[in-house]
């Protein structure tokens, strides 16, 4: 595996971590108080940072570091995750994603945005800008007690503490090459066989290190828990350009200690109070000398620290097979680019710890995720492998050919009349197998819509910010699976619709309050499976479509005549008309009124449909219905005017042979068929598709009753039904662009091409109604 592959794996894992990060932040935003959620969020950022460090992606590391520092405050309970705090964090997650993409693809990033978020995050970490006002005591820069330490005779006694004031003064000049590490082990760290001593020793190996211990939290000997943890250390490492080696030292201990690593020039961020306290070992009252007054300011916020400890679940039994001596040196040498690490501890124990933990289903350490797919596989209950999408597509294509070939073979056998029962049985089994192979292969491509939905939450945040609206995005059915191609193509129309919903659908906070609604608008994004398709709904609780305005606009634009009598539904659907925009001024957000017609077209290209239901004052619901896969389709093969067509089975309700008595004329052109006491319009497919000029006689054909997107039923008139079969979809778009009334094509068993009907488009086209513009528009365009 070469470096590029490792790098690619890192980026793939970044995607997962970013998704985890966002999920966690959103959960916190929704009031989740589980410490494990905070931990997961922290781990995600930390893993990205660690990996980025290994690849020297400095921008990414720098940002992730600041982000992580602030998250750590949340983790340790020093920063309350209020909505304001989470807002900054969610934006930071967006920037982190941008930076990751920038590192991966060389995209440009918005430096200003990143810089301003760094400032926001740092402010939060310092305890500023938190609306709850819960400011940790130790965030106060209390440098006052320090001068005592300058006491000359004492410093001679205090030889072991190589921390002098000169160091503070020189910080600015040393900034480029040093880091200040604050390290407070928790009892768990010792409990797992690790020791502060070993970690300190390894840090000291990295460069010139000045180590100072703070023992101010040390209780009385009689009261102390000998296996507790009361000491903390500050280590100033110089001669180090990059903090990654330090991180690697603490890699396996970081969940069991409070750790900050900051460039030494940036020392103000490291809780100055502790810097002072670190002189504590010196300060203890000596019998010979008068106790120095340093003790007094020693522990400003010990209780905050204590209460802030978040228990991290860890299965200690994972270590059962290891001796203490084995576990005692978990220096993270096994990082992907181990060559760069300065730590010299043995590799084997590190791996065995992780593996022992992994075998028990314990997440050994987030850091391990960097180590590649094989390690990941061991970690989860259901192992996964990463496969190049091209390979899957090739397989799918081949299976498609296999399906066609199997159909052709079956047909040949039938036609040659050579079929013995054994041959026919074999063919049937082959068909069964082909079907199973196909389903399994399709399942490989099926992916949850979650990543796209998560992208939408970012869009919502950004648009809400730009428009000054307050929006809450609720997602449902994120785990609904659909073909990867559909997912990939879904993002764009979905983005547009979400933007539209926030920009046009939801009212401003003032208007909402005036209308007696909560200030915060709600946008619901839901996915579900319904009769072999995926249905995606985007619902807002805004003002609904202003039909008066839509109608006026449509008349102005000459889309409808001034006296047109349109139903509410028809007016609502006008917004999908090309060039239609109700926004009085063109905004950056929703574009120039090319929005919804483009959305509609791209969804149609996916073989999908879109509809809208709107209630004035209550909001609008956009419903998209898409095929689960773009590769195969169950269809009814029919003939119309000597052409073979395929009607998607999902649309068909029933088929019937019309009797002359059941056919009724309605107006000059329209005919209705009466089915069980209801009248259903007849749609002559041959005429709609211009296969013939004259209307066919329904009595000589077959009526295929279909359900349309709007919920109504129509009877499609076809000449005959040939049969029902699964067909492999071959797109027409690539060669012919969008063909009105036709969704795609397929190859039949006899090798002929058959067109797959776009039922809704055909139904809409049959009305010859301008308010139902698909066919006329597409024909014009």
């Amino acid at each position: 595996m070469d470096m590029n592959e490792i790098r690619e794996i890192f980026f793939q894992e970044c995607e997962e971590q970013l998704a985890e990060l966002e999920t966690g932040l959103l959960a916190l935003n929704d009031g989740d108080t589980d410490p494990e959620t905070v931990n997961a969020v922290f781990r995600a950022v930390h893993s990205i940072k660690g990996g980025a460090g290994a690849f020297a992606l400095d921008d990414l590391v720098a940002f992730a570091h600041v982000f992580e520092t602030t998250l750590d405050k949340v983790r340790s309970g020093q920063l309350e995750p209020t909505h304001d705090v989470l807002k900054v964090m969610l934006k930071s997650a967006d920037v982190l994603a941008d930076l990751t993409n920038a590192a991966r693809h060389g995209d440009q990033i918005d430096q200003d945005r990143s810089a301003s978020l760094v400032a926001d995050l740092e402010a939060l970490a310092r305890g500023e800008g938190v609306s709850s006002g819960e400011k940790p005591a130790e965030a106060e820069p209390e440098f006052t007690p320090v001068p005592v330490m300058l006491d000359e005779p004492q410093s001679a006694d205090f030889a072991p503490v190589p921390f002098s004031f000169d160091d503070f003064d020189d910080e600015d000049t040393a900034a480029a090459s040093g880091f200040v590490v604050t390290f407070r082990p928790r009892a768990e760290l010792y409990g797992k066989g690790n020791d502060a001593y070993l970690l300190l020793r390894d840090v000291a190996k990295l460069g010139a290190a000045k180590i100072a211990c703070d023992s101010s939290d040390l209780p009385d000997l009689a009261q102390m828990d000998p296996e507790g943890a009361y000491l903390s250390w500050t280590i100033e490492v110089t001669g180090l350009a990059d903090e990654a080696p330090i991180q690697r030292v603490f890699e396996f201990a970081e969940w069991d200690c409070d750790l900050t690593i900051v460039p030494s020039g940036d020392v103000s961020a490291v809780q100055p109070a502790e810097e002072i306290v670190l002189m504590a070992p010196i300060e203890t009252p000596a019998p010979v000398k008068a106790p120095t007054p340093v003790i007094t300011p020693a522990k400003p916020a010990a209780s905050v620290e204590d209460s802030g400890m978040v228990p991290v679940p860890f299965d200690l039994s994972a270590f059962d097979n290891l001796t203490v001596a084995d576990t005692i040196a978990p220096q993270p040498v096994a990082a992907p680019v181990a060559a760069t690490t300065a730590a010299s501890a043995p590799v084997a124990p590190v791996i065995s710890i992780a593996e022992a933990a992994a075998k028990r289903g314990v997440d050994p350490d987030a850091a391990d995720r960097r180590q590649g797919g094989d390690r990941r596989a061991a970690e989860t209950v259901a192992p996964t492998i990463r496969v190049d999408l091209d390979r899957v597509d090739r397989l799918i294509n081949l299976v498609g050919e296999l399906v066609i070939n199997q159909a052709m073979l079956a047909q040949s056998v039938n036609e040659s009349a050579a079929g013995t029962s054994a041959i026919n049985m074999g063919l049937e089994e082959l068909q069964q197998l082909t079907r199973e192979i196909q389903d399994s292969v399709m399942a490989i491509r099926a992916q949850p819509v979650k990543p796209v939905f998560q992208r939408m939450s970012r869009i919502v945040r950004e648009i809400a910010d730009m428009t000054g609206k307050s929006v809450r995005l609720v997602t449902e059915g994120e785990n609904t699976e659909v073909d990867k191609t559909v997912i990939d193509k879904l993002a764009e129309p979905l983005t547009h619709m979400i933007r539209n919903a926030v920009d046009h659908g939801l009212e401003t906070p003032e208007k909402r309050l005036a209308a007696g609604k909560p200030e915060e608008g709600t946008l619901r994004l839901a996915a579900k499976h319904r009769s072999g398709r995926i249905v995606i709904e985007i619902a807002d609780d805004g003002a609904g479509i202003n039909r008066e305005r839509v109608r006026k606009k449509a008349i102005e634009n000459g889309l409808i005549s001034a006296d047109a009598n349109l139903s509410d539904e028809e007016i609502d659907n006008l917004i999908f008309h090309a060039g239609f925009s109700t926004a009085d001024k063109i905004s950056d957000i929703s574009g120039r009124g090319v929005g919804m017609d483009v959305v509609k077209r791209s969804i149609q290209q996916l073989g999908g449909r879109i509809s809208i239901v709107s209630k004035p004052g209550e909001g609008s619901v956009f419903t998209m219905s898409l095929p689960l896969t773009l590769a195969v389709l169950d269809g009814m093969v029919v003939s119309v005017a000597n052409q073979t067509l395929v009607v998607p089975l999902t649309a068909i309700v029933e088929t019937l042979q019309p009797e002359a008595s059941k056919i009724h004329r309605f107006g000059a052109e329209q005919r209705l068929i009466s089915i069980r006491d209801t009248f259903c319009p007849l749609v002559d497919v041959g005429r709609v598709l211009s296969f013939r000029r004259e209307q066919a006689d329904p009595v000589h054909g077959v009526a295929v009753l279909v359900e349309t997107e709007g919920g109504g039923q129509r009877a499609l008139m076809v000449d005959a039904i040939q049969g029902q079969r699964q067909v492999v979809i071959k797109s027409l778009e690539a060669n012919y662009d969008h063909v009105p009334g036709i969704a795609a094509a397929t190859i039949l068993g006899d090798g002929r091409v058959a067109l797959i009907l776009d039922v809704d488009a055909v139904v809409a086209g049959s009305r010859g109604d301008q308010a139902r513009p698909e066919l006329s528009l597409a024909a014009v365009g």
Binding site: Y197, A212, L218, D220, L221, M224, P226, L231, P281, T284
Partner: protein, 96 residues
């Protein structure tokens, strides 16, 4: 070294497992001057350091003598790594 002090020999390994026994041993001698013999110490970890520091504080509060004598190289090194000299106290008799 204090003449009247009880001499307590520190064990070779002062790790997690040694912390509780060490504390108990030292507590049992509370009130009497103490001289800890660190000559055999090969390893000392953070938790035993805590015990020693707490003991030093306690003895100083009591005004009783407390010293660490004949520190081994291992002991000195480990303490240095943890930000301390071989003596936890400012005792003058400790040599380096």
């Amino acid at each position: 070294m204090m003449d009247d002090a009880q001499i307590v020999e520190l064990p070779t390994v002062l790790d997690l497992n040694a912390a509780a026994p060490l504390r108990d041993r030292l507590l049992a001698r509370r009130g009497t001057p103490l001289a800890l013999d660190a000559s055999r110490v090969e390893r000392i970890g953070g938790q035993c350091l805590q015990v020693l520091l707490a003991a030093r504080n306690a003895w100083q509060c009591d005004g009783a003598g407390f010293s660490i004598d004949r520190p081994s190289d291992g002991f000195l090194n480990a303490l240095r790594q943890m930000g301390f000299a071989g003596d936890l106290t400012p005792a003058t008799e400790t040599t380096r």
